[in-house]
């Protein structure tokens, strides 16, 4: 009997349940989909290196899921409170009819159970679909050769999802029981007669506050753009505080501002229900401004993390694509620049250093002589050809360049990304013959360099504008006793295997300008392997690096194509999936809270809409006012969030340049569109539900 009543109740108030159900389904679907990635068939086909990355991804997602579950729990409880409030009167009726409170608990628990089971079923079904897309996407990130689409169901993720949501429903039932237990019959009966009191604010004050809010937000944007993100400077703190204060003030005053502005335009104000809906808006602002501010900031964080996160991985992927011209690159470093003193300090390499010196710092020769010590095949069996580039300190500092050209590196690089004392840093120089040899090894044409010329070689995105400006200024420098003039075009080629492009303004000079006395601080060896020898060469290199045998060459960094590719795609997967997962849940949370607030409002305002209908306002006019009202509540936090995001992205672009060139990429565009779609659907569901609530029914 109680079950029948509960089922009938759910069916009867299906429209009220719509937002609640929709939120549950989305939450469950996303929760399952992300937790199931690691266990999927598609991912199981990924190679070993990639699988490690996927294990990391699964681990991180599991941890994040705890946090996500908490957000979803709050959301479900919040949504459920709305439903319960709507039905106080119904519960009162049951009690008046003599139903025991215990039975009431049972009805309420059964309803939660019915909605819970239904949403789990639908949510898991949708989650299965999303999961297939995500895991096949992940698989193709690691290995483009995965054929076909693998379908799989992850029992673990399923169990986790059911457990998490069962817990959430249990908490909901307990809270509902608490609510019903505390409620007195008289309060339930009079629930919808509760008078809301409106605290009205001075309109001129709102007007001024709104302008102040815009100015504060403007100042915070300026502070952020001038000072950047990386260093935790007081300006950054100030920008953060100001943007929050500005946002809150904005939502505190925006409704009053809109009202005041419209009042000044009589034909607009005295038209249809404009007056009514603007007054409604400003009356609700007192209770709504905090949540709207929080939602705007949350949307901002969600969008920035998705765009920024995906931007960073895309930049890294682009660098990686650039940095895979050779099968492997080896770097040996013999000295380090001490930035404080401006002195070059030799590293303590001990016997390894002696071994390097004995081989005259010729890396290919030294490494070839190391094969025996680590039990690797002979060098010539593995290596097709190799080119070495020696980086020597030119004695020319960035400060000198600034003096010679009048161009400062600080004007070209985003604020906060460089330390303040870069002026003393010396530039590297390399011989053009080595530079061209490396180009040829990569299948590129050599560059032509005149007797009195040097080229600026820069592959770091961060400083590319600066390098172009230097080249264009035809800077003149004293190198090796000659005055050399910069070629007007900077070289931006990456001549090593690497995931992160990092050569900053290296000077490429004629061979006879290279002085043996200039300190050689690091050398780079680019290697093309014989076919099929890549893996053997990779393990040889790691053997050398790990070896304690003094008869091996000192190696400080090894990067092979397969390592770079696996790293970059693994990193892509981890960062993009996390950003999308968190971002999606945040967007759902924001939209659901907005939706529930608007529905609560609509429920509270039924009498007002009824009066307006009695006064003869056509249904279309009333629907229009409701549409505008709810539209503003959804649109403004989104607009402010987008504005904040656009500003923040200006700075994020600078940060991303540390990793390479920014490309927000299709993934983030698709993600944003998906976010907007979810947000839009919430808006529509809210509007339609609210419209149905306030619809004037002839008795």
């Amino acid at each position: 009997m109680l079950a029948k009543l509960a089922a009938a109740n759910v069916r009867k108030s299906a429209r009220d349940f719509a937002v609640y159900f929709f939120t549950l389904v989305l939450g469950i679907a996303v929760f399952y989909a992300f937790n199931s990635i690691a266990g999927s068939q598609a991912v199981a086909r990924i190679g070993e290196d990639g699988r490690k990355m996927m294990e990391l991804l699964a681990f991180v997602i599991n941890i994040v899921s705890v946090f996500i579950a908490v957000i979803l729990a709050f959301l479900v409880i919040y949504a459920n409170r709305f439903l319960i409030r709507r039905r106080n009167k119904e519960f009162a009726l049951y009690l008046t009819l003599g139903m025991q409170k215990g039975d009431l608990f049972k009805v309420s628990a059964l309803e939660t159970l019915i909605v819970g089971v239904a949403s789990l079923a639908v949510g898991l079904a949708i989650g299965l679909g999303i999961s297939q897309i995500l895991s096949n996407m992940a698989a193709s990130m690691f290995d483009s050769e995965v054929e076909g689409v693998a379908f799989s169901v992850s029992g673990n993720a399923m169990a986790l999802t059911v457990a998490a949501f069962a817990a959430i429903f249990l908490v909901t039932i307990v809270l509902n029981t608490g609510h019903l237990f505390k409620a007195r019959l008289i309060d339930l009966l009079n629930a919808d007669r509760r008078n809301e009191s409106f605290k009205l604010r001075s309109l001129p004050l709102s007007f001024v506050l709104f302008i102040v809010a815009c100015v504060i937000i403007g100042i915070s944007y300026k502070l952020l753009m001038d000072n950047g993100l990386l260093e935790p400077s007081p300006e950054f703190m100030a920008a953060t505080v100001l943007v929050c204060v500005g946002t809150v003030l904005f939502f505190y005053s925006v409704s009053g501002f809109l009202l005041r502005i419209t009042q000044m335009i009589k034909p607009l104000y005295l038209r249809g229900l404009n007056m009514f809906f603007l007054r409604q808006l400003s009356a609700r602002a007192n209770s709504a401004f905090v949540s709207m501010s929080v939602i705007a900031i949350t949307l901002f964080l969600a969008m920035t993390s998705v765009c920024g996160g995906i931007g960073i991985v895309n930049a890294m992927n682009a660098s990686a694509a650039n940095g895979t011209k050779y099968d492997a690159s080896v770097v040996s470093t013999y000295a380090m620049m001490n930035y404080d003193t401006g002195e070059v300090e030799q590293l303590e390499l001990g016997e390894f250093g002696a071994f390097a010196e004995a081989h005259d710092y010729n890396m290919a020769e030294g490494l070839a002589a190391s094969t025996e010590a680590v039990g690797a095949p002979a060098w010539d069996n593995m290596v097709e050809s190799a080119v070495q580039i020696d980086f020597r300190l030119s004695g020319i500092t960035l400060g000198d360049l600034n003096e010679a050209t009048g161009k400062s590196i600080y004007d070209f690089v985003g604020a906060g990304l460089l330390s303040d004392d870069m002026g003393g840093q010396q530039l590297d120089y390399v011989a053009v013959s080595q530079f061209n040899a490396a180009r040829e090894l990569a299948g590129l044409e050599p560059i032509q360099l005149g007797e009195d010329e040097f080229a600026i070689w820069n592959d770091a995105a961060l400083t590319s504008d600066y390098a172009d400006a230097l080249a264009a200024s035809r800077a003149q420098l004293q190198i090796g006793g000659r005055t050399l003039t910069a070629q007007p075009e900077a070289q931006d080629v990456t001549l090593e295997t690497t995931g992160v492009t990092q050569r900053i303004c290296v000077l490429v000079v004629p061979d006879d300008c290279v002085e043996e006395s200039a300190p050689l601080w690091t050398s780079l060896l680019d290697v093309q392997c014989k076919d099929g020898q890549e893996d053997a060469f990779q393990s040889f290199l790691h053997g050398v690096q790990d070896s304690a045998d003094p008869n091996t060459y000192p190696v400080s960094l090894i990067q092979t194509v397969s390592e770079v590719e696996t790293q970059s795609s693994g990193f892509t997967a981890v960062v993009s999936y996390l950003a999308i997962y968190i971002g999606f849940v945040l967007v759902i949370a924001c939209a659901a809270i907005l939706a529930i607030q608007q529905l609560t409002d609509a429920a509270d305002n039924v009498r007002r809409y009824e009066l307006i209908a009695k006064l003869g306002a056509p249904q279309r006019m009333i629907d229009g006012a409701l549409f505008k009202l709810i539209g503003i509540y959804f649109l403004f936090p989104l607009l402010v969030g987008v504005a904040h995001t656009l500003c923040a992205m200006q700075v994020v672009i600078d940060v991303v340049q540390v990793f390479g060139y920014l490309d927000i990429g299709t993934v983030s565009v698709v993600t944003m569109v998906a976010f907007l779609a979810v947000y839009g659907v919430y808006f529509l569901v809210t509007y339609l539900t609210a419209r149905n609530m306030v619809k004037f029914k002839r008795v």
Binding site: F198, L200, K266, P267, Y269, L270, R271, G272, L273, N274, M275, F276, R279, Q280, S282, A283, R608, L611, I612, A613, K614, L615, G616, A617, P618, Q619, M621, R698, V699
Partner: protein, 257 residues
């Protein structure tokens, strides 16, 4: 010669099934006319059907049988879209609790009836001022409903009801929530509006309130029970006749809200 503004012709309202045995007749063949410029009261005990009748006239409820014509148009033939337009242009409402929107000032509350009509924004402020002045509520125009007295609220509601120059003003227990002094002021306002040309139909159970009308229509058990005309009586005399009639009506008039 002014015609009938309101014609109620053989109106029946049945609840619960079209011809089922359990059907209840709320109205049973009620007929009467209201002429232009009249001020008519409808009285009857609780459950007599007077509220149902008013709801039917105000197009908020539907009839089972019969016809209601307002300004010559049969409202039972209007489609629901036309009904809203009809209420907007032809009817004015005053409810028991003033039903002013508490988020709007009095001025805006009165103007709302005109903006819904999409009246020209240039003429709205003038018309509102003018009406407020006539009803003596000019000084309350920029206040919010919670800042003014119940009587002032009801007069503002009356101003809202007549500002669109409707054919018919419908008042449902307008003095129900007022003390006697405010009731008197409101009824004087009604009298003033009536002299200015408004046709008013007012439902009340209170003889004092009813004594302001020109004519009282009594309803009992869904049927017309009789009517009283004031003719040349003073209000006091008319009041006595009304009290006598309601006593005869069965003495069942309860003080129902």
């Amino acid at each position: 010669m002014p015609g009938h503004v309101l014609e109620v012709e053989n109106v029946s309202k049945r609840y619960g099934g079209a011809r089922g045995e359990n059907a209840t007749l709320a109205l049973d063949g009620v007929s009467f006319f209201v002429d232009q410029g009249e001020f008519v009261g409808i009285m009857g005990p609780s459950g007599s059907g007077k509220s149902t009748l008013l709801n039917c006239i105000s197009t908020i409820d539907t009839l089972t049988e019969g016809a209601i014509r307002i300004a010559g148009r049969d409202i039972t033939l209007l489609r629901s879209k036309e009904l809203a337009k009809f209420r907007r242009d032809e009817l004015g409402f005053v409810f028991q609790d003033s039903n002013l929107l508490d988020t709007l000032t009095v001025r805006e509350n009165i103007a709302l009836a005109l903006t819904i009509q999409r009246a020209s924004s240039r003429e709205i402020p003038g018309r509102v001022e003018d009406m407020a002045q006539r009803l003596g509520i000019s000084e309350t125009l920029d206040k919010y409903p919670y800042q003014i007295s119940g009587g002032q609220k009801q007069r503002a509601a009356a101003a809202r009801a007549v500002i669109t120059r409707p054919s018919l003003v419908l008042a449902d227990e307008p003095t129900g929530a007022l003390d006697s002094k405010s009731s008197g002021q409101l009824l004087e306002t009604f009298e003033l509006l009536n002299r200015m040309g408004s046709t008013i139909v007012m439902v009340t159970h209170d003889a004092f309130t009813a004594s302001w009308c020109h004519r009282i229509i009594f309803i009992k058990d869904g049927r017309l029970w009789g009517q009283l005309r004031r003719q040349d009586d003073t209000r006091e005399q008319f009041f006595s006749r009304i009290v006598a009639a309601t006593t005869r009506l069965g003495g069942e008039v309860r003080n129902a809200g």
